[in-house]
Symmetry: C2
Subunit: 162 residues, 2 copies
């Protein structure tokens, strides 16, 4: 699915959500949604404001961004998350399901897909719980930090033995 089609679908989803819940369809909301879906990866309110400023799309104020990120969260369009002590949001449309490699040293986050695990998780039937999405974080060290860690360990060992 290309980005334009995704944007079309997600705009429709927002439109439906607003209509169903009796909220209003304001240009600010759709401009924000657009800014979010033009972004790759994790974003935060400040980044959205900066992006919209840079792209010279409709100007919205800080409070509106916060308000609507909350609304989008309720609508299931974004999810708030915390990785390596940094908070942020991710978009969620057709992306409710994801495996993520999180380096606990440098903070690098990599998406990853493992079909076997993916299916296993989605087949989990939980009593008294209706699953609508999931997210699996694998914590550890990326190759770079793994190498750095080994060097550091060696150094510490030398120091201890002195």
């Amino acid at each position: 699915m290309d980005r334009a089609e995704e944007l079309r679908q997600v705009r429709q989803a927002l439109s439906d959500y607003l209509h169903i819940h009796g909220y209003r369809s304001t240009p600010e909301r759709f401009a924000l949604l657009e800014a979010i879906y033009m972004t790759d990866g994790i974003f935060n309110p400040e980044k959205l404001l900066a992006d919209m400023e840079a792209r010279k799309t409709l100007r919205v104020c800080r409070a509106t961004v916060y308000n609507n990120l909350g609304l989008f969260e309720d609508a299931g369009l974004v999810r708030k998350l915390m990785l390596n002590g940094e908070s942020g949001y991710e978009k969620l449309w057709h992306n409710q399901f994801g495996i993520r490699l999180v380096c606990t040293s440098c903070g690098k986050v990599t998406e990853c897909g493992d079909e076997k695990v993916r299916h296993q998780i989605e087949d989990m039937k939980k009593k008294r719980f209706t699953m609508t999405g999931w997210s699996l974080n694998l914590y550890g060290l990326c190759s770079k930090c793994q190498a750095a860690f080994k060097r550091k360990q060696k150094k510490l060992l030398d120091k201890t033995q002195k």
Copy 2:
């Protein structure tokens, strides 16, 4: 493993970590660690301060709590997380691996263990990534909210058809 034994092990882990990295063993650090490991579930700096106040253990200031939560995070003793827009910490000792049911409506968080999925995940071998822990969040509706949601859906449908 009972709580006393867990506490003993985790104190040892902190002691080792401090020693190896050349940090000092202060009473504040161990009091904080104790407060964390006396807590069940998710906590935040404010809760720790309140708990320590209530239990009349060593009084520590806010900045010290923040400082040491950062240190404990680096030491792999706690992990910062975000669930339903609320940030918090979880303890990590012998608990690096966990499946969690998160109700996106009421925010209830339930621990859950599925051995099959657990093993599948731990058997995932990632190229260029050394996994030290993982966490799987299943998002959805708990039974209570599922029932409430159905009622609400029906009401909205009636309203639409009017």
